[in-house]
């Protein structure tokens, strides 16, 4: 709702990222600008109007009028941007979010461990009742033909296992509960 949006995004606030594309790395900065945005990529500034035209789909119009209909997909920090005819993978690191995540970890966040992406549970590495240290492997999730180890977010005891090996899971599905 309009009031909440205004209170959350301070007018003119810039958000900074580090972007990696191929072998290149750029400092990126985003600021609201009228109905759209101004984005700095390294030394270049791009002005873009950005319109939500559907789930995952945005229409982007650059200053010179060039238009793109782009489809967005995110796997962790990797953004897959399809421009129709060309697909670009951009890794975005948000320095603030990274710091916040570190702080959460220090405070000892615990509880549910969810799947970040859809995939298949290849192996379960722990059993109910196991005492685990932060960072210990809980299970292996295969997604996009890659095996990813899902780790304990904090020290604790495995209270519940919601999945079995071989099971396919949707993004966001609860995998393990740690207390």
């Amino acid at each position: 709702m309009a009031t909440r949006r205004a209170s959350r995004s301070g007018a003119g606030a810039a958000v900074k990222f580090i972007a990696r594309e191929g072998d290149s790395e750029f400092d990126v900065e985003v600021v609201r600008h009228g109905s759209g945005y101004r984005v700095r990529i390294g030394e270049r500034w791009i002005e873009a109007d950005f319109i939500n035209i559907g789930r995952f789909v945005r229409s982007m119009r650059l200053e010179n009028g060039t238009q793109f209909t782009l489809v967005h997909h995110r796997e962790g920090d990797t953004h897959e941007i399809s421009l129709g005819g060309a697909t670009v993978f951009v890794d975005l690191i948000d320095p603030v979010a990274a710091k916040r995540r570190r702080r959460d970890d220090e405070m000892g966040s615990s509880g549910a461990v969810n799947a970040l992406m859809p995939g298949r549970v290849v192996r379960i590495l722990v059993s109910k009742g196991d005492v685990v240290r932060k960072g210990a492997g809980l299970l292996i999730l295969e997604a996009m033909k890659m095996e990813n180890e899902i780790q304990a977010p904090a020290d604790g005891t495995v209270e519940e296992l919601f999945v079995t090996s071989g099971q396919t899971v949707e993004a966001g599905a609860e995998l393990v509960k740690i207390s």
Partner: protein
């Protein structure tokens, strides 16, 4: 026959959707059947009623006659449309429907049987005066027969499985020393693919075209032809692009083809839709290959050009009605092309590309038709044919149809999985294709010359993508509510008002 009837569609995907559309226009309620992974398929969502018929493998679901008849009984269906593939050309299924008191929307089981075996069909056609490719009519009993035939007609010859189809179980032999190994291989393939090791041989027509004739007949003895289709462009012996009319068929040849097709259909007392497939040499001499006793995948190009609805016509014919047109009343208009859009990655040797469709934009506008079986948010399963959709365009002439197809392919976007759209764009721009000069080997010849590698994006694309990614991440970090998700206060107030009024 009562005024209405409930139609069960014993199929899936785009063809099931196509049949439901025809039923809707005639006011008939529809029943879909589905296997476990198909519970969210478009044909299921689109039907009035849907019943599960078993697990993923076709032999445990879409090929299970007992389960389909059971679903018909449970839903109170009066008729069954088999679509194409699966049980469409299974005479036992047609018979089982008849025995269960259900209308089978297709030809009689006797006609299916008569055309079911390629060798039986060929001898029947030869007897009826239909030209067939010179060859052994009967399946051979020994290799010696094939050897003698090769000596008599000369190489090259084709060795084929008698029960074969779909491009499986056949081999071209060009050299004498390859004759025996090919015979052995086809025999064993015939056994493992079709459960029948019988093979036969025929003369190989060099640089042929594949032209087929659409026929349709009613149960009162009327049979007409609805022109030809050009189906020469094939990959792995599967059609990928079809056209109506054929660029090499003129009025005189069309009349001869049509007369031949009607004669062939009449020889097996055919009714409903059927297709006579022919091989045509560069001299435009044509030979009967086989008859498909069903609705054909590529039927839409005929519908666009001849202004008929073959599926609705099938439904009427099954009810015993007469054909709604005659040979004389049929008129041809313009040119139509169909591309079969597959979930395959041309850059990876057309490897299947199943998965979630994150976004799909089907082309629209003048002269464009989509017969699709998918939607955004649908996961293409790994168990079935990878065809997503058929894109059909209609234009005033072939040139306009090609330009329209190029435009439609450019509008077409599918994200999340790879498709054969880039492949079709390439073909549509090929000068030989544009000139109508091709044979069945055309695609295999030009494929190695096409570079489907995903080209690296240019700098402005990369900049745009980085900016877009950053804006998306910015919006996420600011928890920006997008308009699509936003629940309007006005709407909420209106809803409260509406409820209050009712209380």
């Amino acid at each position: 026959m009562p005024a209405g009837m409930k139609v069960l569609i014993a199929n899936r995907g785009e063809i099931a959707v196509r049949i439901i559309r025809a039923c809707r226009e005639l006011g008939y309620p529809t029943v879909a059947v589905y296997s476990e992974p198909d519970r969210a398929s478009l044909h299921v969502v689109y039907s009035d009623q849907a019943l599960p018929i078993g697990p993923a493998p076709s032999r445990e679901s879409y090929l299970r006659i007992d389960r389909i008849l059971d679903a018909a009984k449970k839903s109170g269906a009066d008729a069954i449309h088999p679509g194409y593939g699966f049980l469409a050309e299974n005479a036992d299924f047609a018979r089982a429907c008849r025995d269960a008191g259900l209308l089978f929307i297709g030809p009689s089981p006797e006609s299916i049987d008569a055309m079911g075996s390629k060798t039986d069909a060929r001898s029947r056609m030869k007897a009826a005066g239909v030209p067939v490719v010179p060859g052994l009519i009967e399946p051979v009993k020994s290799f010696a027969e094939i050897e003698a035939f090769a000596k008599e007609t000369g190489l090259p010859i084709m060795i084929k499985a008698a029960a074969g189809g779909g491009g499986k179980g056949l081999r071209l032999v060009e050299r004498e020393e390859d004759l025996f190994p090919a015979f052995e291989r086809v025999t064993s393939e015939a056994q493992s693919f079709f459960g029948d090791s019988a093979v036969y041989a025929e003369k190989f027509i060099a640089s042929p075209r594949h032209v087929e004739v659409q026929i349709i007949g009613d149960q009162h003895g009327n049979i007409v032809h609805v022109g030809e289709r050009e189906c020469t462009l094939q990959r792995r012996h599967q059609k990928v692009i079809e056209e109506c009319p054929s660029p090499v068929v003129d009025d005189e040849l069309r009349e001869r083809l049509g007369a031949m097709a009607v004669k062939a259909a009449a020889a097996v007392n055919y009714y409903s839709t059927g297709t006579i497939e022919c091989l045509m040499g560069p001299d435009r001499e044509f030979y009967f290959l086989e008859m498909n006793t069903r609705l054909q995948v590529e039927h839409p190009v005929t519908e666009m050009v001849w202004g008929v609805d073959l599926v609705k016509e099938q439904l009427r014919i099954a009810r015993g009605e007469k054909l709604s047109f005659t040979q004389q009343s049929l008129r041809r208009l313009g040119h139509a092309i169909e591309c079969r859009i597959y979930a395959e990655d041309p850059a990876r040797k057309f490897a299947p590309s199943p998965g979630l469709i994150r976004y799909i934009n089907l082309p629209q506008g003048p002269g464009v038709r989509n017969d699709q079986g998918v939607y955004a948010g649908y996961t293409v399963p790994v168990f079935y044919d990878p065809m997503l959709s058929k894109l059909i365009v209609h234009g005033e002439n072939r040139d306009e149809a090609i330009a329209r197809m190029c435009r439609a392919l450019a509008e077409y976007r599918v994200e999340g999985i790879m498709t054969t759209i880039p492949f079709f764009t390439f073909i549509m721009n090929n000068p030989e294709y544009r000139a109508g000069k091709f044979d069945t080997g055309f695609i295999d010849r030009i494929l190695p010359t096409i570079d489907f590698a995903h080209r690296p994006a240019n700098e402005s694309h990369v900049d745009a993508a980085i900016a877009a990614a950053a804006i998306m991440a910015f919006e996420e970090s600011q928890n920006v509510k997008l308009p699509v998700d936003e629940d309007s206060q006005w709407r909420r107030v209106a809803r409260v008002e509406a409820v209050r009024g009712r209380l």
